[in-house]
Symmetry: C2
Subunit: 109 residues, 2 copies
C-alpha cells in the first residue's frame, strides 16, 4: 500500500492531480509567482529571496520542470527558468473547466 491507484482513474483525473500536486507547496507557489512577476528567473535569486537552502530550491524547480510547468535554458553560467506556455494553458483549461462544474449554491446541506 501507500501507492496511489492511478489505474482506476481516468487520464484526465490523473493529469489534473499531477499538475495540482506540482503546485501544491508554498515554496513552489512562491517560485512560480516570482517567475510570473519578472517573466524570467534565475535560480540564484530565489536562494537569496526564499529562505530555503539551494539544494531544496533546486529540488522544487526540478518538480515543477518534471510536471512541465516550467522550463529552463542555460544562460551563460546560470539557468533561466520560465513558464511553459503550453502546460500553463492546459492548466488553465483543466482547472477552469473543473471549477466551472460547480453550478451555484443549490446546496443540499
Amino acid at each position: 500500500m501507500g501507492l496511489t491507484k492511478t489505474e482506476i482513474f481516468t487520464d484526465e483525473q490523473n493529469q489534473l492531480a499531477t499538475l495540482l500536486k506540482a503546485m501544491a507547496h508554498p515554496a513552489r507557489i512562491a517560485i512560480l509567482q516570482r517567475i510570473l512577476i519578472s517573466n524570467t528567473c534565475i535560480c540564484g535569486d530565489l536562494v537569496g529571496e526564499l529562505g530555503l537552502a539551494q539544494a531544496t530550491i533546486s529540488q522544487h524547480l526540478k518538480e515543477l520542470k518534471n510536471a512541465g510547468i516550467i522550463q529552463g535554458t542555460i544562460e551563460g553560467v546560470s539557468i533561466c527558468y520560465c513558464i511553459n506556455p503550453k502546460t500553463w494553458k492546459l492548466l488553465e483549461a483543466q482547472i477552469g473547466s473543473f471549477l466551472a462544474e460547480y453550478k451555484g449554491e443549490t446546496a443540499c446541506c
Copy 2:
C-alpha cells in the same frame, strides 16, 4: 527536516498550497466531480463506484472536509456531502488570480 517551512511564506501562499494539496489526488478529484455532477453525495455510492476501500474513501472525504472544500450533514443513516460554496468561491478567486498572473507567451527561453 521533512516538514514544510510554512513560516517563511505568506498566508496566501500557504492557503493556496493547502487548497491545491487537498485536491491534488485523483481520488479526491473523482469525489469532487461526483459531488459536482449530482450536486449531492452519499459516501456509500462512492465506495461502489470508485474502486477504493470504504476506509480509504472516508479518509479522502475527511481531507476534503478539513480543507473546507466540502461539508457533510447527517441525513438519516448516511451522510450527505456537498461543496462548501464559500471555499469554492475562494478557490476560484485564488487560483484564478494566480493563473491570470501569467501574461502571454513572451517567454525568455
